[in-house]
Symmetry: C2
Subunit: 343 residues, 2 copies
């Protein structure tokens, strides 16, 4: 048994190196119709931090996807305008450029598509229509100028597609390279400690990496727009289903209305997962060690012991990358009046 396990671990570890896990690339995928430019990044950063994109001027993209922190909000579910709460947790914006589909249910095929959603979601930023957003932006001379700079070939650059393109372009700068895991994979064998290496072998051995593979551990070999959807729970009936209300939200089914998509979800990234508690689509699991236990049981029917859980958590902690230093944007002003609406 001991020998067999060792061989299994060895085999797994070889395959790890060979394909299942990959270091974060230095470059993000960029769509052909939205090349990155400094002007577009700067405009996108302004818009990302712009509370005037919300109905009452209280919520910006950064409110729920805080780039000064983990790229999310530390809450079980998002918080929108007028004290409203969302139904799902805010996924991190860090490294979201590597995801091939966006949102928990993959309903956006690109960051551009994603950026439009929350603005007109009544419980998020609450704008009744994108035309109203564009109307506001047109009242702010600094934005009109910034759109012209970012989209110099467009006759009427201030429009929703360009707004989404700019935000997506800024988001493509939000990557966290050089995690201890990445350094290890690039040859620095001291970058992971023995416990982390045990955890790395274990996630392959018990099968986590059959879904959590690739550069951001969310699946690999996928084209942009193509989702890696998996059931959660894979094996229904464990105590966790009820304990954490796992099945109430039907996930991908709510988008497709196909029976086979019930309780299916886009596989989330493991990158910076140590920082993005609480866990899962409803944020009901508060700690990473419990999240590991839940996943092992519901997806792989594995009952992990505390040592195994600790090893996996240690490995997942090695996926916390380096967050780049950033400059603050200046939000364009209106002189002598405010366009921020009063509620």
């Amino acid at each position: 048994m001991h020998l067999r396990k060792s061989l299994l671990v060895l085999a797994s570890f070889m395959s790890v190196s060979a394909w299942a896990m990959k270091p974060l690339p230095n470059k993000v995928p960029v769509p052909a119709d939205n090349p990155m430019t400094p002007q577009k990044i700067e405009l996108g950063k302004m818009l990302y931090f712009e509370p005037r994109l919300s109905i009452d001027g209280t919520i910006s993209c950064n409110s729920c996807h805080n780039v000064m922190a983990d790229g999310a909000d530390g809450r079980a579910v998002g918080a929108g305008v007028r004290g409203q709460r969302g139904g799902r947790g805010s996924p991190t914006v860090w490294n979201s450029a590597f995801h091939t589909v966006q949102f928990w249910d993959g309903r956006a095929a690109s960051l551009e598509d994603q950026a439009k959603g929350p603005i007109t979601n009544p419980i998020e930023m609450g704008m009744p229509h994108h035309d109203i957003v564009i109307g506001r932006i047109n009242q702010i001379p600094g934005y009109v100028a910034a759109f012209k700079k970012a989209f110099p070939k467009d006759k009427n650059p201030v429009n929703t597609d360009n707004l989404a393109k700019a935000i997506a372009t800024f988001e493509r700068t939000l990557i966290t390279p050089n995690a201890p895991f990445d350094k290890y994979m690039k040859g620095n064998k001291k970058a992971l400690n023995p416990q982390q290496i045990r955890g790395m072998k274990l996630v392959e051995e018990i099968g986590c990496t059959s879904c959590h593979s690739g550069e951001i551990f969310a699946g690999e070999g996928l084209k942009m727009g193509e989702g890696n959807y998996q059931p959660f729970p894979q094996i229904p009936g464990s105590k966790f289903d009820k304990m954490y209300d796992i099945t109430a939200d039907l996930g991908r089914y709510e988008v497709t209305k196909k029976v086979e998509d019930k309780n299916h979800w886009r596989v989330p990234t493991w990158r910076n997962v140590a920082l993005t508690a609480p866990y899962f689509h409803n944020g009901k699991v508060k700690t990473l060690d419990e999240a590991v236990r839940v996943m092992a049981k519901t997806q792989l029917d594995a009952d992990l012991n505390d040592g195994q859980v600790a090893d996996i958590v240690a490995f997942l902690n090695s996926l916390t990358g380096e967050f780049p230093k950033q400059t603050m944007p200046r939000l364009p002003v209106t002189e002598n009046f405010s366009i921020t609406p009063d509620p």
Copy 2:
């Protein structure tokens, strides 16, 4: 009349140059017991952007005093946790270091005192007690380390006074020098256009600068902790009292309970006033030209014509300074769990 007026203008203008209006100093006043250090500035910046200082993790200092914008929020009154609205507008944080007292009613004698207020205000950040704030910070290793660095001589550096000292220190970096007015006062006579110069003379001539004097146009010759309080309206009974509900909030009286303080207010700064609409303690006046009309009537019994209003607004627009480029803070993380509470 024409000659008399010209002489008056000349006399006023001489006194303008001589004393009433001053360029913004390059250095802010710093209290002896809270010297500025890079470590304290960095910690203060982190805390300033820290939503975990609010009960439900939704509101930071920056939510209402946005340093990426005008240092306020563009709303009539502040917006706090759980969708609550405040009773007064958010004053700008830019150049607040030059104010000798803080808040509309001057109830804080320093930025340090001010910083503590909103955190435990139930309709702002909503924390029940400062001990709970400190308890949270102690759960975040990065903050504990940052407090140690910022206050290396303190045995127990994580405390409310140091939190306030750090935030105040960051706020002392938020100054906007080199407004066109400042350049003009320092000798560049082309920095103001003829209309702005007319407006500059007019504010002295009609008496605005009897209160709005000095470096930030909020009074001068005051020691730190000493307020420049003035009645608003000075001359009750104009149509504006009702139109903008000027007298309902008793201002300074709510702090002192002295009859003579009824409807008295700290004189607000004119620095960047073009950007901080809407105006006055209750934010009921939406544009700067109307604010000028209201002030002239309620304080000086002057009925300005449209040309005079436009000239004064043009001058006030010359008080918009240069906003320094800033780096974003990184907010310290908690690994494997979140301390952001769910509502």
